[in-house]
């Protein structure tokens, strides 16, 4: 059993990741690794490079230099294979407002090649409690419902690693509660990486925490090695540092 765990690839392995826009370094030499099943929360002020990093981890942007391995697969060498293992939940829903929930989900299921797309879509819609609204257009959904559907969309390929980009943006407290419950029910066997401004919630949910400022990692540790008050103090300091 111990051997099996030792042979298991890391969920994420990032080495010397750098992204340059013009003459500005959005990310500077970022390195970290994350075991499978972990939950990493990334904090930092606006412009710290959080979303840029998430975009590179999810293969949506190319690094200027450095390497990313997701589930042991090099993202530069085989981005399509990495895409098989990941899902992204963003503050953008990635849903077509004029299509129904079912049409949106079936579209994504067909793109991924789900063998029985209808069954999978119904299963996910039931999980996010939207099955009864499956024939309604997404435009008629509240922000919370859209976010739930967005979660279902991201899970269509049963990803091993799920990226969450500011998932609480625009959600009311009730929707946040439902969202948290949903994420908690999905934790088993999955790795999560969340970018958030909500220090309290992000820290409570995570197993690992990272603080980014001006494109550099200030702290990246397992949560049990961190003191929340100290972390909060550092967060305040880095927010004071502002945009890189």
């Amino acid at each position: 059993m111990a051997d099996a765990l030792a042979n298991e690839p890391l969920a994420l392995e990032v080495k010397k990741l750098t992204k340059v826009f013009g003459d500005r370094k959005a990310l500077d030499n970022v390195s970290f690794s994350l075991p499978q099943g972990a939950f990493l929360s990334i904090f930092g002020p606006n412009g710290a490079g959080k979303t840029t990093m998430l975009r590179m981890l999810s293969t949506l942007a190319r690094p200027t230099s450095g390497t990313i391995r997701v589930m042991g697969i090099d993202a530069k060498e085989d981005p399509d294979k990495v895409r098989d293992h990941i899902g992204l939940i963003s503050h953008n829903s990635m849903l077509y407002p004029d299509l129904t929930a079912m049409e949106n989900m079936m579209f994504v299921a067909r793109l991924y090649g789900v063998v029985d797309p209808e069954a999978r879509v119904r299963e996910l819609l039931r999980a996010v409690e939207l099955d009864h609204r499956r024939f309604d257009s997404v435009r008629t959904f509240s922000r919370g419902m859209t976010q739930r559907l967005s979660i279902a969309r991201a899970l269509i390929n049963d990803p091993d690693v799920v990226f969450l980009d500011e998932p609480y943006a625009g959600l009311d407290p009730h929707a946040v509660e439902i969202f948290d419950e949903l994420i908690a029910s999905l934790r088993e066997g999955r790795t999560f990486v969340m970018v958030s401004h909500d220090l309290q919630k992000g820290f409570a949910a995570c197993t690992h925490a990272m603080m980014l400022a001006r494109g550099r990692v200030m702290v990246c540790s397992p949560k049990d090695e961190l003191d929340f008050d100290e972390f909060k103090g550092l967060y305040r300091e880095t927010v004071g540092m502002g945009v890189a």
Binding site: M94, Y96, D98
Partner: protein, 238 residues
């Protein structure tokens, strides 16, 4: 429990993407309505302008150019809107997360744009004939204009889809698209206007001009669509 998945073929991706664009249009009628209305308004403006021109004006000589001006400007309107849905909610990023050949996104979007443009053209051309050529009467060879209409709309849809992808993240994307689109499309536009005009007027030896113009249009379409297909992955990932 793991979800059973089978990597879809490129054709399956193409069909899924095209079907999504068509379903979206069936729900909203957004593109067809706006493009159709715009074409109609341009024809009304033509009517007002030509009404003052007097009887010496040879409308038949101008018809090809006028018709292509409607098609070109109508297509610009449609192309500007074609990526707005994808951009609005980050939907394009959702598609880019899927393991697939990204050139298929180009082909499917270009096909959808072509279908919308053909539908609008199919309404505009008879209306144009009815309003402006009803009394003059085109040469009996006019049905041959289907060839330049097809070649022209294919080129417009292909090049336009590529350019609207390039400009969708730029500031003033509407103007930027027009600034890039019209000069790049000029050879095709010139060939299509020439082919359309010569089959409508049928002057002596018109077939030579028609064949040359059609060869130029077809060559342009093949080269530009191949370039777009090859470069699309780079453009959409940038």
């Amino acid at each position: 429990m793991a979800v059973a998945m089978k990597k879809p073929s490129t054709w399956a991706h193409y069909v899924a993407l095209l079907k999504k664009d068509l379903s979206q249009e069936l729900h909203t009628k957004d593109m067809l309505t706006s493009m159709g209305l715009y074409a109609l308004l341009v024809l009304v403006v033509y009517g007002a302008a030509l009404a003052q021109a007097g009887s010496e004006l040879d409308i038949l000589q101008m018809a090809g150019g006028l018709l292509w001006a409607v098609i070109l400007f109508t297509s610009l309107l449609g192309l500007n809107r074609s990526f707005s849905h994808e951009k609005e909610q980050g939907c394009l990023e959702g598609i880019l997360l899927v393991p697939m050949d990204r050139s298929v996104i180009f082909l499917a979007k270009a096909t959808a744009n072509l279908i919308f443009l053909l539908v609008v053209t199919a309404v505009t051309v008879p209306l144009f004939f009815f309003l402006f050529l009803g009394q003059v009467g085109a040469a009996p060879t006019w049905p041959l204009m289907i060839a330049p209409l097809l070649a022209g709309t294919v080129g417009i849809a292909g090049v336009g889809t590529m350019l609207s992808t390039i400009t969708m993240n730029t500031r003033g994307k509407d103007v930027m698209l027009a600034v890039l689109f019209i000069p790049l499309l000029f050879p095709l536009l010139w060939a299509c206007v020439s082919a359309t005009t010569c089959v409508m007027c049928a002057p002596e030896g018109f077939m030579d001009t028609f064949v040359t113009s059609m060869a130029l249009s077809a060559g342009y379409d093949i080269v530009m669509i191949l370039i777009s297909w090859v470069l699309y992955d780079f453009v959409v990932s940038a």
